[in-house]
């Protein structure tokens, strides 16, 4: 009997210790040291001021979320919500800053790409083998004929897509029809890109003639009659 009681006491002690350790463990697991919601939000605001990149912002967002979890675990949901109400405007502001940073980065990347493409185009124009004026003109005209035909195809594709879009509405947006519409949109985009590519090729031909032979290709009356006048 006495032995049984002793065993129960030991088990109860072990259980209590286990619970205490578990509670301590959850607290120690968090590397966040909580002060007060106001002070912690202030700390986040100071960090948000130093944001210069996307990575910085992500760090602040992660930290804010860790604080919130820590408040929920250590105190209660109400305290966590109060803390959230304090830091959310700070994160909104930081989000705006991030958007501005991203826009600046995108603009810089666009300028870089433009410069590299321009030099690439000039390089292509300088090394392009050129024929006589008439031959060059014929190249341009042939490309223009292809472009014209492709523009007709593009217009037909767009018209088909518009009709099909109405059919989808009438049919109640079935998945297979939506997929087909997606494919049609992809075809339209691909056709547009093909046209742009040929137009770009024409621009390089004109540039090559201008750079290498200082002559300008002039197409008169589009495809039919062409008068070649070299500007030497």
């Amino acid at each position: 009997m006495k032995k049984n009681r002793k065993q129960k006491a030991i088990l109860a002690t072990i259980y209590t210790l286990f619970v205490v350790l578990l509670l301590l463990g959850t607290r120690c697991e968090s590397r966040i040291h909580l002060t007060t919601p106001e002070k912690d939000a202030q700390h986040l605001a100071e960090l948000a001021e130093t944001i210069h990149s996307e990575a910085d912002l992500r760090k602040v967002e992660r930290l804010a979320s860790e604080y919130e979890i820590a408040y929920r675990k250590s105190y209660n949901g109400a305290k966590a919500l109060y803390f959230k109400s304090l830091y959310e405007p700070i994160l909104d502001e930081a989000g705006e800053r991030r958007a501005a940073i991203r826009a600046e980065e995108d603009y810089l990347a666009m300028q870089q790409t433009t410069l590299h493409n321009t030099i690439g185009d000039l390089e292509s124009a300088w090394v392009m083998p050129l024929g006589s004026y008439e031959e060059e003109l014929q190249r341009l005209i042939a490309n223009n004929t292809i472009i014209e035909a492709m523009q007709g195809e593009l217009e037909a594709l767009i018209a088909q897509k518009e009709v099909y879009a109405y059919e989808i509405i009438d049919a109640g947006y079935p998945q297979d029809m939506l997929q087909k519409l997606g494919q049609m949109e992809a075809d339209i985009e691909a056709k547009g890109n093909e046209i742009k590519e040929i137009e770009h090729r024409n621009a390089i031909i004109k540039l090559a003639n201008k750079l290498q032979l200082e002559r300008e290709l002039v197409i008169e009356n589009n495809c039919e009659e062409t008068t070649a006048e070299a500007t030497m």
Partner: protein
């Protein structure tokens, strides 16, 4: 065996030459904004006004080296100005 070493050494020398250009350039850190305006004008004009392929090659390599130097040494607003000015001149 010897041939392999020669090819490897040539490649390394070529890479060193390529990287060396941008590294050898030193952008004036006190005056980088003016440098961005002046150099972009000078370099892009040289590319645009090249009258032979050789001239173009030299001018474009020079521009690329300075672009790299601005990007790695200065960055920020001056690098952006350098790019914008070059683009404006080359595409006008």
């Amino acid at each position: 065996m010897m041939k392999k070493y020669i090819i490897l050494a040539s490649c390394l020398a070529f890479m060193a030459c390529g990287n060396g250009d941008a590294q050898a350039i030193k952008i004036d850190e006190q005056n980088h904004l003016n440098e961005a305006y002046n150099l972009s004008y000078e370099l892009a004009t040289a590319v645009k006004e090249a009258t032979t392929y050789e001239e173009f090659q030299e001018a474009s390599l020079n521009l690329k080296s300075y672009e790299e130097a601005f990007r790695t040494q200065i960055g920020g607003e001056s690098y952006l100005i350098f790019l914008e000015e070059c683009n404006a001149i080359l595409n006008e």
